[in-house]
Symmetry: C2
């Protein structure tokens, strides 16, 4: 079910000979080694300006490995004695100098990222020097990252939790290592090249606090050998709690680093055990369907304004769940509308509006056959390229039972009214591909007692922490647009690197047919969430579910997900600037659905705990064409 870690490496706190270290690690099944950038036998004299040449002597020569091996086989560590926030000014300045030297050398080696320990909350001067490096013009896009090694639990918290005489107080949260990271990355403007190397500690924090890390850009999972127990057969094994956490990590792309001495027969067994944990992880259905697509932003399709392409049709037609459920819905509707006694005389008129390349037509015919009811089908489609396929399927498969109509459903003059109106016009956010507007147009040829499949759908939103999605948005290469443009779009994206700050809530609902006297598909709603933990808000996730007919449902909401369905990824709705939250803080979201003659759009803003401006006012950045 799960998948292997990207790679599994072995930590060498003091490797004198790199090639030897790599051979040792490879022999045991590891893919890379982690070593200090500075050679252990050379003393540093960074502050001794009298011997300028010798000052470079501390580094390892790059000739010991080819350039490619440096990049693939080695993750270097910044010297652990550095303290850029030391109260001792001399020591602080020496630390700064060595820090820049070491990072420059890692850049020289062409290395993807370096590891660096974070050991406390106060890192203001480090933050300044980190950001200076990460923002340097010579830095390359997919390189020169810094991975901060942070424990899941600090020693202080661990100590306090086993001494009952210490009262729980606010200090615990202050010493929560997540805050060390959060303070630092906010100072570093959520820089995309700053990532986390999460060190699993013997004592784990609460489930909620552990989950919070999944909203952070975890690049490396550091697993100390000291965590391992020994099972009856003598092999290393982890506690149930540690197993559970590591299996949750398997949903994300991650590198694993084993650290500490060998406490069992062979280091090999640690790799095997961790690979086994990853691969046997049971992933939730909304994650399972993501594999291979994680965190890639896509602009939502606009099937109404643009014609879908052959490849898009082909992909979605393969969904094993969606069309089965549509078939079930049509079956139930036919059974309900035609009593057994009328099955020979009553011919139901079914109109498939937005027929595409015909999967719903085929499902409808199958459902009628299964229900033993007579039907006549109209397949209405506006895309001339898809109509070619429909005409061919009629000729080859369907026969005279199906009428192919090349027309926009909103303008079609139907020759008769129908009993059942079937459509699949839903987007990741339900109404965001303009299903309401299309079906309002099509319902004029639905009989008064006719059935619309779907009969209703609802959108949901949820506040999230996801520095990754925020950065994916910010780093989009969109020229010739104002700075706010990227943050006022919504994006379709498989989200594995985000933390749900509060449970999702329902936003809008649409019901079909819409028999209101005045049809109005604009909406406005204010939602109030409560932050489950101290966290940083980077935007919202949008989902939908739909009732096709009676109890036949489709859902991409995680807690009601239609297992196995892959047609929709959720929406990411960004905000311009991250917002810091304390546990219990209210998060008030205002959300509008607006329209004019030619288009529909959303506007949104956060009003509590701080207020953002209204995003996408008048649809200035993103609209959906009618």
């Amino acid at each position: 079910m799960g998948r292997k870690p990207r790679s599994c490496g072995l930590d060498f706190p003091a490797a004198a000979n790199i090639s030897h270290a790599i051979n040792t690690a490879t022999d045991c099944g590891f893919g890379f080694v982690c070593i200090p950038l500075a050679h252990p036998n050379l003393r540093r004299c960074a502050n001794d300006q009298s011997v300028p040449v010798e000052k470079s002597k501390w580094m390892r020569t790059d000739l010991v490995l080819g350039a490619n091996d440096w990049q693939v086989r080695v993750i270097p560590r910044v010297s652990s004695w550095l303290d850029l926030d030391s109260p001792n000014e001399g020591f602080r300045k020496r630390s700064e100098e060595v820090f820049h030297q070491e990072l420059a050398y890692a850049h020289h080696l062409g290395i993807k990222g370096v590891l660096m320990d974070l050991r406390r909350r106060q890192n203001n001067n480090l933050a300044r020097h980190l950001l200076s490096k990460l923002s340097s013009e010579t830095s390359s896009y997919f390189r020169d990252e810094v991975w901060l090694q942070i424990p899941t639990s600090s020693r202080k918290i661990a100590a306090s939790s086993c001494r009952n005489d210490v009262p729980e107080d606010d200090d615990e949260d202050k010493d929560d290592p997540w805050h060390w990271w959060d303070d630092l990355r906010l100072l570093c403007a959520s820089n995309m090249r700053l990532k986390v190397a999460l060190e699993v500690t013997a004592d784990l924090p609460s489930e909620e606090k552990l989950s919070r890390w999944f909203g952070e850009p975890i690049e490396v999972l550091v697993v100390p050998t000291a965590l391992f127990m020994t099972n009856k057969a003598g092999y290393p094994t982890l506690s149930k709690a540690h197993q559970r956490f590591i299996q949750k990590c398997a949903a994300r792309e991650m590198t694993v680093l084993v650290t500490g001495g060998n406490r069992h027969a062979s280091l090999r067994h640690y790799v095997q055990y961790i690979n086994h944990l990853f691969q046997s992880a049971e992933l939730p259905p909304h994650i399972q369907c993501n594999l291979g697509f994680e965190d890639n932003l896509q602009v939502p399709l606009q099937p109404l304004a643009d014609h879908l392409e052959s490849f898009t049709y082909e992909t979605f037609e393969k969904d094993p769940v969606k069309y089965t459920e549509y078939g079930n819905a049509v079956y139930e509707a036919l059974i309900d509308r035609v009593p057994e006694s009328e099955k020979e005389t009553n011919t139901q008129v079914v109109m498939v509006v937005g027929a595409g390349r015909g999967p719903l037509v085929t499902q409808t015919i199958h459902a009628a056959r299964k229900a033993n009811r007579k039907i006549r089908v109209y397949a209405v489609e506006k895309n001339p390229n898809a109509v070619v396929t429909l005409l061919d399927l009629k000729k080859v498969d369907w026969g005279d039972i199906v009428m192919v109509v090349h027309c926009d459903m909103r303008k079609w003059k139907a020759p008769e009214k129908c009993d059942i109106l079937v459509s699949e016009l839903l987007g990741s956010f339900g109404d965001n591909e303009l299903s309401p507007e299309c079906l309002d147009g099509a319902q004029v040829f639905l009989k008064d007692d006719g059935i619309s499949i779907p009969e209703s759908y609802r959108s949901y939103v949820q506040p999230i922490m996801s520095m990754r999605l925020y950065n994916e948005t910010r780093e989009l290469k969109i020229c010739d647009k104002p700075y706010y443009y990227k943050f006022e779009q919504t994006y379709v994206v498989a989200q594995t690197n985000s933390y749900w700050i509060a449970p999702r809530q329902q936003l809008f609902e649409f019901i079909h047919p819409n028999r209101n006297e005045v049809i109005d598909n604009t909406r406005f709603k204010k939602l109030k969430f409560i932050a489950s933990e101290d966290s940083t808000l980077y935007g919202f996730t949008g989902y939908f579910d739909t009732t096709l007919y009676k109890d036949v449902m489709l859902s991409i909401v995680p807690d009601t997900y239609s297992r196995g369905m892959f047609s929709w990824f959720p929406l990411y709705i960004p905000i311009m600037e991250p917002i810091s939250l304390k546990k219990g803080d209210p998060i008030e979201l205002l959300f509008w659905r607006r329209r004019d003659e030619t288009k529909v759009w959303y506007e949104w803003c956060v009003q509590r705990p701080t207020t953002t401006g209204i995003h996408n006012i008048n649809g200035r950045s993103g609209t959906i064409g009618l």
Copy 2:
């Protein structure tokens, strides 16, 4: 020496069954088929609005192939009866409608490009509709191309050339099919998705006119079976002239399409013969070193302002020619400076300035050993990361003979003067990595009679037609810069898709040591070229050559290229807008090398036959940091 065509396909002018056509072609070793978009059995009625549904019936259903096969196995052809420039208005409008329908269907299929015939020079309305399609918002970056099939020679020219009574006149050039293309693509603003499918005709135009096609974006080479003769063994073969031309094509990435009936034992023999021609092609040395890097723009390195990286050093150290020639130059210099009688007593001081990771130091030591002369070497390098390597090489290989100095050569206080000053500071344009400025600084520690290796270098420029390089430049995704920025950079790029409009000329020369009283490395020169053929100017190519010592040379100028060397690709120097040229037109280029306290830059413009503004005035877009 050469390489295979990207793929070799078979033309089916009227394939009723695509799968069958693909099987036939695959059996004979072809990789794809070319078929008309419209099914041959269906009559078109695009202008009959009374049967709107049926109007789509002419197309083939996309279900006959999977989406991936459509993209890989098929190149479709636009209907050949279309004439968007017909004097008959009804026919013209019908052609427009069908044209848009067919291209929309090709887009629906997700196809990379479609073939379309070009049969005369007058295509103004076609140009408008083409550009409208190519500029459409739904077009994808690497898709939706149109490949115009154009013969190398028109029938009219072929006819006139075999009738002696027809006087040669200007009309010949007017009917040159290259002009059909040139007129059209200029109207289409040199759109990057417009490409050429060049059809080889029985009569070939002059060598010069054939070469001109290599400045055009040839996507497909169309080879009619009618061109083939039969050799003694009964196999197909081409005339020497055709062989020569097709082997020249092998230097470029190209798809081949075989068209026409089978006139030999098996269609397979055509594929085999063409593959053989491509693979056995003898490529000129300046092309040979390009393979795999063609037409990718790179911003030139700035080794003075930035530190080179390990990977860069490693790549260039592998050049099999450059360091051998440096070794030869040092050898000759040592022999010249130290007579045989002094070989035991005279120790020559060699300074390698900009030693990098030491390849010139190693070559110098080898040369001294071979010459049996005594030396003492200083290796001066400013990059602290490279100094680490130098110190290690000194320890492991070189020993006390070498002194490693971590210093900028312009600021170094040398302990003694040297006999030979060795450097490798040259860029693709000779002086563009600021070798003159560096060596002027370093020559203070060269003895009055000392030798600089290199002793001189020269830059060269040449006017080129290359729509490809122009588009690569225009399409660079550079945000937050003014529109002219991209056109005022120079780019390092392996150029296979360009036509030399006139022979190259020397631009600037620099000589070391520079014993002038006032050292001035600014330059200004005006060059005048004469266009060899009607053509379109898209910029200039820059090269250099250098005299290391006496007759030891390195060159990237095509006609004097140092065979096997790969350290430098030439420079592309763009101009903002293409300039149309008639054969014999003067092309006057003004070129400046400018500097201030902190940087050097180039400025350039064309003054004849039309005047462009001066590019990069004051170095507003591109400079080289001192």
